[in-house]
Symmetry: C2
Subunit: 239 residues, 2 copies
């Protein structure tokens, strides 16, 4: 255990993000305005929406057409798993199974929709590299989005891209406190960190970034949501 515990702070004051905005600079600047400097083994959780906006992953949509969102979601999907009313559960090109391919009409000007980044792991690496030029220390980046779950009500935030911080930590070779080996304990720490970050973000608040401090230093390494978290179809019992 990290004896000092974990602390989570919301990062505010980034303003409305537009295509081409330098996110790393804006985040480091907003942190400085809050009197916080990045330290070794900090993790920044950045919501997908501002990453997509900065990358220009915004498209016009006819907001008067009730089917427009569903059609866009289907266009963004490689496969539709389920439909019910307006909702489609899709598999995206990234391999994510989620509602409406992650297409989102909230917190964006009317008549526009935000799409997922094309390659969220690459987006995370870009942010990590840009922040490395601006701040000292080994900082992990996680891009989060809000997904539903098959058998549990309510959404939670999960990781769609990571850089510099493990997505899944394999505890299989560690022993329980009675000295026996533990099996099948691969923990998706990136999802757990995103869930923790969402507790200071809310959904309607302008807190698009959270700083998570106190994460186990052993978890900082090269990583990928696509390689570590996305379950290959061959392993999938429910697709």
């Amino acid at each position: 255990m990290n004896a000092a515990g974990i602390s989570i702070f919301g990062v505010e004051g980034l303003g409305e993000i537009r295509h081409g905005d330098p996110l790393a600079e804006l985040i480091v600047g907003a942190l400085a305005d809050q009197g916080v400097g990045l330290a070794d083994h900090d993790v920044l959780v950045v919501t997908q929406k501002i990453v997509s906006k900065a990358e220009g992953r915004v498209v016009a949509i006819d907001h008067g057409d009730p089917d427009a969102k569903r059609r866009l979601a289907e266009a963004e999907a490689v496969r539709v798993l389920r439909r019910r009313g307006d909702l489609v559960i899709t598999e995206t090109a990234h391999g994510f199974i989620c509602a409406n391919s992650g297409v989102d009409l909230s917190n964006i000007a009317e008549g526009y929709a935000v799409l997922l980044p094309l390659d969220p792991d690459r987006s995370a690496r870009g942010l990590r590299d840009a922040i490395a030029h601006l701040a000292k220390g080994e900082v992990g980046i996680i891009i989060s989005d809000t997904f539903g779950r098959a058998w549990r009500r309510g959404v939670t935030d999960v990781a769609i891209g990571t850089a510099g911080i493990a997505a899944v930590v394999d505890l299989r070779s560690t022993r329980d406190h009675l000295g026996r080996e533990l099996v099948a304990t691969e923990v998706c720490v990136a999802d757990e960190i995103c869930a923790a970050a969402d507790l200071v973000m809310g959904k309607a608040r302008r807190v698009p970034v959270a700083l998570v401090r106190g994460i186990d230093s052993a978890w900082f390494r090269e990583s990928s949501v696509r390689d570590e978290v996305v379950r290959p179809p061959a392993e999938d019992l429910f697709r």
Copy 2:
């Protein structure tokens, strides 16, 4: 946002829990040993295993029989959804969809298995009521367990019982920052708090309880995982 942020501490030193042990007293005592007193709107996340042990939800199992765990998991299930090798994905009497009905052979003496509490919401209420006699302030209790996910690798901790803290918070009637209503943003904050707590717990460490401080005071109310989180079969697209 809670401007002060959120902090998470592991609670250590509870020792091996046995049937009948007074968990609330042990937790408050362990916190006191760490120099921490419970405060208004603290949340205690308590892992299922120590709750089950205190409640005597432990059964003998022939650990030499490779099928014993699967048979026990099937006996604890109301339905088996999928099988693959040793793994069964089941629906429990609580309505949880999880691996092996939550039957667990780690961190328990060889020859025994730990079962889920019969009614984890009731377990949480019991702990909450017992702690109310020992400490001041309105404290939320969440009982956590470790579940897999259909389409994402790696396990995460989720809530199986709650008392005094919301399981799902409905943000549907709040507005986004552009003033439009948000739809379908029911957030399972209890699962997010469990995921956050797991970051200080690990799996092989003797940290069966975490204190989460800084949770939105508006989320403290009567609650139930069974009523708020378990998705009724009629809503379920993937059972």
